[in-house]
Amino acid sequence: MKVFRRFAIFTTAATYFLIFLGGLVRVSGAGLGCPDWPKCFGRWFPPISYRHLPPEYDPNLFNITLAWIEFSYRLVGLLVGFLIAVLAVWAIARYRHTPKILLPSIIAALLVAFQGWQGGQVVLSDLAPFLVSVHLIIAFIIASLMVYIAQQAYYLEYRDTEKEAVYPGWIRNATRLLWLLVIGQVIFGTRMREALSLKIEQFPLASGAEIIAQIGFIKYLHPLLGTAIVILTLIISYSILKKSRTPSPLAWQTAWTLVGLALLQIVFGIVMSFFGLPDVIQTLHLWIAGLTSGMVLIALAAVTRQKER
């Protein structure tokens, strides 16, 4: 049990690292570092010099830095896919009578295989903004499944978690609402990025602030909903930390983490709108969104656990 839980946590961390790398590939403009898929310039390892390019590729297209950024990302993706596959096999072998672990493990394994193929379509479409968003949403779903598996494995090991805890009654529905709002916010965020990347193509001379000015109502909707999410997060976390009797250590840690992530996200949002979308902040903003959705899920499972038993 302990080994499985640790492996699940490790796989979850690896999945989040992969999401971070995916964001990094995008902001560094390395998405087409390998113009083909699954190979890179027709080879399984990217060429180290343009002299090694197969003749059908335009040597101008080859940029060794971008090729290796993209290639490393694919390699880590393959590794994470392998970890999730091992987790699913493990779940089938040992936890086939625990549907809360078995089902998400199998779904995650199927999704991650699909995700690999879909990532190829993203490259072959020259990074069509909509396909990029689909790729991101699937990644977040996989990460959420991993978080859920790790948490259920933890509960199998520590069965009495939440036994003593008493949370305010309204907190369950509030956390459900928060989770929905976070999902909506992630989708708005990807829409915002789609709109921005289309405008950046059309206005190659414009600065980040000018680009933001060009996009529609979503530039108000996204920060507004973000503010609402932060307020709701603060209320829920405060209730877990101060208004509950003996909250579990997991719930206590999660509540603090949610507060920290919410405040960071607001700071990053402000930095992005006033300082023209700095690349690194974009990556972190997206990554924290992924972490937040996972953390809200932990909080949700924690505060509803007692009622289920």
Binding site: G29, Y57, T65, P204, W252, T257, L261, L284
Partner: protein
């Protein structure tokens, strides 16, 4: 695990991870930007004076200065390469519809047939409504000279032997890159270079 932890260690770990990842991201983005920034200079475009189809006035290097220009060589009767090259130009024309700093230049390699009215009709048929995309006319020997000595591209057996390369010329009249005008890879790289060089205008 029954005792409550006294400090939010999960949050502290995440923030520490975040700082490490931010430094890593900054390094990777910096390397990626460095790798793209060195778009070499192939040569300087010599002065020339052709005729623009849309207004019949002289058009040359002077009109290209201060803008990023993409230049191709086509002829309207062409059945093979030119239609694809023009389709790709039309895509760029649409893409950059909000940027008057990006200029598309199509030079005819068949001046006998492609008179100014023929070029105007060809432009209209391809959706050109303003002077962000110009069609230029000059006698064959001047076209050959500019193509071979100016753009350093082959111009044998015109019109059929025209080059399929797109040439990117920066705001100072310097030739910055050549791109295959018939395929997707060439267009990707051209758009990337436009974005890089646009920053310098």
């Amino acid at each position: 695990m029954s005792e409550r932890q006294k400090y939010p260690k999960m949050l502290i770990w995440l923030v520490a991870t975040l700082i490490v990842l931010a430094a890593f991201a900054a390094f990777v983005v910096h390397q990626a930007n460095l790798s793209r920034s060195n778009i070499s200079v192939w040569g300087e475009l010599p002065d020339f004076r052709f005729t623009a189809a849309h207004n019949g006035e002289p058009f040359g290097l002077e009109q290209m200065k201060g803008k990023l220009a993409v230049v191709n060589f086509i002829f309207t009767r062409c059945k093979r390469a030119s239609p694809i090259m023009t389709t790709n130009f039309a895509e760029l024309y649409k893409l950059y519809k909000n940027s008057d700093k990006i200029l598309l230049v199509s030079i005819t390699v068949d001046p006998e047939h492609d008179s100014l009215p023929v070029l105007r009709e060809y432009a209209r048929a391809n959706g050109v409504t303003d002077d962000r995309w110009v069609f230029l006319w000059a006698p064959t020997e001047e076209v050959v000279r500019l193509c071979e000595q100016g753009f350093m591209l082959p111009a044998d057996n015109l019109p059929l032997g025209h080059t399929t390369k797109f040439t990117l010329v920066d705001g100072d009249g310097m030739i910055r890159s050549y791109h295959e005008g018939l395929d997707r890879d060439g267009m990707i790289l051209l758009k990337n270079n436009i974005r890089q060089l646009a920053g310098a205008l």
